[in-house]
């Protein structure tokens, strides 16, 4: 790597690593296609192109080993591009893996992995029967100055009689030029307009032709002019033009090899420079153009975008501050004429701010395809491992998702897809026995739904047997038998996400799920998303991941419980119901509310009113939360309105409960805590009424907090 200074070099290498990853991904994709259509020459060509690009880029970065390996592969693919075998796909897969490992090693400047297995495969591929024959004329290539044939001699006489000069041109091909045949063509091109080539030695393709080229030409030009024409930089190192039986008096003109690289020296004039022609050219009107669009795509460190987004978040807080100050101001001086102008300016600022926020968020969005594209290869590999036939269908790849989310869900997705192949899809025999096609199908899809992005992984396998899950949960003690009777199908299926529900061996018996599913759920909850299962025994299973569009800013509903301010994401709120305490009923120690035709289980965030208080008549608000299939009512004291919240993550020391997932600052400086709904739903589903009602009631505050709060003056800020 000598072409660039260190800083530039580093920058270029970084770019190389990024583009190389994309190339490897394409390599995998094309290899998959080739595996399905082994006879498709176009695919082989496409793979070669990719490998070729990797080779070129790697060489430009000075990664010689990678470049060499790619070069060998490219050559091997060249040899039998027409009669291809399945093994080509196999080699391409191995190559993608090996190249990937090499890239990783280059990146951390570590030791290069062995590429021996790949080299062996390439050799085997190259050794397959091929019809390529080397030119046999090699041996008779003359080393001495060419002797012209009778026919050529005749041509000389013919040309002389027409008044042309005939020359014998000997050009030495630059030893640094790796493409002598192309060099030869270039010389021929150079001479073509002003000279007629009567003969050429040695023949193209012979070994000697890589060193020099002798030509017999007829021309009206002088020897000097021809010498200039043949002196082509970087490919021709020497030119000798000798007249052959013509009237040109100048006998010899030997051109000294031109030092390539000595750039500062003025260019030797190829033709006699004529001022007229220069002017003529300058006079030719060329349409003027807008000055270049050099590079439309910018690669930026994600951190920088996060910084911008953070600042936008601060601005949004600033906007609320301004708005509150203005409201107060308007109250103080209702007659002030400037109010209207302030209000207009603020409306404008607010609109621009919203646009700004949307634009910044859009920068962070990437299509889900980036995540999906790794799966075809993975499904193929896993299916091969477990000896099944599995196809993969993907749709909705263009759905946008926040980049940070994408990175985080990659792991759980991989997990689910792997599970679907190894456990979800049955063996081919079993499938045929059940009247299904032998080849299983996994469907990945993604779409927007409201303020969420949904990613679904569906397999057409055996499905999950709810009864077996139930039995397992009972056995593990995760469920009591009354609960088991009470729980609906969805709730029971949700049990597979419980930690310790099952280990790999055990789960395989019960239709093969649950391996590390608790991890999947943990990740999704951390992202303020959720995962649920839909299954039809014997037909299919769908894992549905629901993700927020972005992590940073949410529309939230603010409410108060026990004088403190909380918020929940607005998109989780299905409905807000008003009720009285007297409407709340007790069923098996659960509090429920009859809401139209359905019974809604309730969670009391605050403390139940004591008997001394206005029991029975107190007005309450119930936020109907829908989490997946489940609906739950949160009892809150008072609603405070909607607000756009910029979430600030809380560290573990700040909050002792998992029921709070974050916090935000309002325009007036008040702090609002964001309730972690999945955790509340989880708490509710694990709640055992017989253990007393302390868990579902007043769960947000500890007794100590509550006591402090009572002692605090009524006008406390929180």
């Amino acid at each position: 790597m000598t072409q660039f200074s260190d800083e530039r070099g580093a920058e270029m290498r970084e770019l190389f690593f990024e583009t190389a990853q994309e190339l490897l991904q394409s390599l995998n994709e094309e290899a998959l296609k080739l595996e399905r259509n082994p006879a498709d020459a176009e695919l082989v060509r496409s793979i070669r192109r990719i490998v070729h690009t990797i080779k070129g880029d790697a060489a430009a970065c000075g990664f010689r080993e990678l470049s060499n390996a790619a070069h060998e592969l490219e050559d091997a693919l060249t040899l039998e591009s027409a009669s291809s075998h399945g093994s080509q796909a196999e080699v391409a897969f191995t190559a993608a893996d090996t190249f990937g490992a090499m890239l990783a090693a280059y990146r951390r400047k570590g030791k290069l992995p062995s590429s021996a297995p790949l080299a062996k495969m390439i050799r085997e591929l190259a050794q397959q029967p091929k019809g390529k024959k080397r030119s046999k004329k090699a041996t008779r290539a003359p080393v001495a100055p060419a002797a012209w044939t009778e026919y050529e001699k005749l041509a000389i006489q013919n040309a002389v009689s027409r008044g042309k000069n005939v020359y014998h041109i000997t050009t030495g091909i630059d030893p640094h030029c790796a493409m002598p045949i192309a060099a030869r063509q270039l010389v021929l091109n150079g001479l073509a307009p002003s000279a007629e080539v009567l003969g050429a030695r040695p023949e193209a393709g012979s070994p000697a032709s890589t060193q020099r080229l002798e030509l017999l030409v007829a021309s009206e030009r002088s020897a000097d002019q021809l010498t200039a024409l043949c002196r082509i930089p970087t490919v021709i190192s020497s030119v000798v033009v000798e007249p052959v039986g013509a009237a040109e008096p100048k006998a010899k003109k030997a051109a000294t090899p031109e030092p390539a690289g000595n750039a500062a020296s003025p260019a030797p004039s190829q033709h006699a420079p004529s001022p007229e022609s220069g002017e003529e050219l300058a006079g030719v009107a060329r349409p003027s153009h807008t000055p270049m669009l050099a590079e439309n795509i910018l690669r930026v460190d994600a951190e920088r975008i996060d910084n911008v987004l953070n600042l936008v978040g601060e601005l949004i807080i600033g906007r609320s501050m301004l708005q509150q100050a203005f409201t107060e101001f308007a109250r103080h001086v209702p007659k002030e004429i400037l109010r209207g102008r302030f209000s207009d300016a603020m409306a404008f600022q607010s609109r621009v701010l919203s646009d700004l926020q949307r634009s910044v968020m859009k920068i962070r969005m990437v299509p889900v395809e980036q995540l999906f594209r790794r799966f075809p290869r993975m499904v193929r590999d896993v299916a091969k491992q477990v000896g099944k036939e599995v196809g993969l269908v993907m749709s909705g790849q263009e759905t946008d998702l926040d980049k940070s989310l994408l990175d985080v869900i990659a792991e759980p997705m991989t997990h689910l897809v792997r599970n679907a192949v190894s456990h979800g899809i049955e063996s081919a025999e079993e499938r045929v026995r059940n009247g299904k096609p032998a080849r299983g199908t996994i469907h990945l899809t993604s779409y927007h739904h409201g303020n969420q992005v949904i990613v679904e992984i569906t397999d057409d396998g055996a499905g999950i047997d709810v009864q077996k899950v139930k039995a397992k949960a009972l056995e593990k003690g995760l469920l009591t038998s009354e609960e088991a009777d009470r729980l609906g199908e969805t709730e029971i299926l949700a049990l597979v996400f419980r930690p310790g529900f099952s280990t790999a061996e055990e789960i395989t018996e019960i239709s093969g799920r649950g391996v590390g599913l608790d991890v999947v759920q943990t990740v999704l909850h951390r992202l303020k998303g959720s995962v649920d299962i839909e299954t039809r025994v014997g037909q299919s299973t769908t894992f549905r991941l629901k993700l927020p569009l972005t992590l940073a800013i949410i529309k939230a509903l603010l409410f108060r419980v026990e004088r403190r301010l909380y918020a929940v994401p607005l998109n989780a709120v299905a409905e807000i119901a008003r009720a009285r305490e007297s409407d709340v009923h007790q069923v098996q120690n659960y509090e429920v509310l009859q809401l139209r035709d359905r019974v809604l289980p309730l969670v009391r965030l605050g403390c139940a009113p004591g008997s001394d208080e206005k029991a029975g008549s107190g007005k309450i608000f119930v936020l109907v939360i829908s989490m997946g299939e489940r609906k739950l009512g949160l009892i809150v004291d008072r609603l405070e309105g909607e607000e756009e919240l910029v979430i600030k993550a809380l560290d573990d020391q700040t909050v002792a409960t998992d029921l709070i997932s974050g916090a935000s600052i309002l325009g007036d400086g008040r702090v609002v805590l964001i309730v972690n709904l999945p955790a509340i739903v989880d708490r509710h589903s694990k709640f055992r009424p017989e253990q007393g009602d302390s868990m579902v009631s007043g769960i947000l505050l500890s007794h100590a907090d509550r006591k402090n709060l009572r002692e605090a003056p009524a006008e406390a800020r929180l």
């Binding site: 192109r49 070729h52 430009a60 192309a182 030719v284």
Partner: protein
């Protein structure tokens, strides 16, 4: 980075304008950085032969640096089509050693020259100077690269 005496268009002393055609963004960037050290300007970029043709029409560059292997339309075909429309087009093929025969084909169809990948700046410089012929001028006074 090595420094080169600036190559300008002799007719108006303006920077030489290049069209970069390569399916690898990396390769395009790499070439762009090199030609910038010659005082050149990137007039346009294309990732395949099809785009190369439309970009040529749009930008009318002084030099086209054209990769041989590209998706959709290979470099040879693109070069041929461009030259058919614009006989004055100066197309330099950029390729690895393995594609010599394709280079020959491209040269037969009107490409002016070729350079080998990985591209050495000093080689490309000489090639460009040659291909520009008298339409190019070395600016002696100005520091290289500008």
């Amino acid at each position: 980075m090595e420094q080169f005496a600036s190559l300008k268009r002799s007719k108006d002393g303006q920077p030489v304008r290049y069209l970069m055609v390569d399916d690898s963004v990396f390769a395009r960037k790499n070439l762009a950085r090199i030609v910038e050290t010659f005082g050149g300007q990137v007039a346009g970029e294309a990732g395949d032969g099809m785009t190369a043709i439309t970009e040529y029409d749009r930008t009318n560059p002084d030099i086209v640096l054209m990769d041989i292997t590209m998706p959709q339309m290979e470099g040879i075909e693109a070069a041929e089509k461009i030259v058919a429309q614009h006989p004055e087009a100066r197309i330099v093929m950029v390729s690895s050693v393995g594609y010599q025969e394709n280079i020959v084909a491209a040269l037969q169809r009107g490409a002016r020259h070729f350079v080998q990948k990985p591209v050495k700046p000093e080689v490309l410089y000489e090639v460009i100077k040659y291909v520009l012929g008298e339409d190019g001028a070395v600016a002696h006074a100005a520091g290289a690269g500008a």
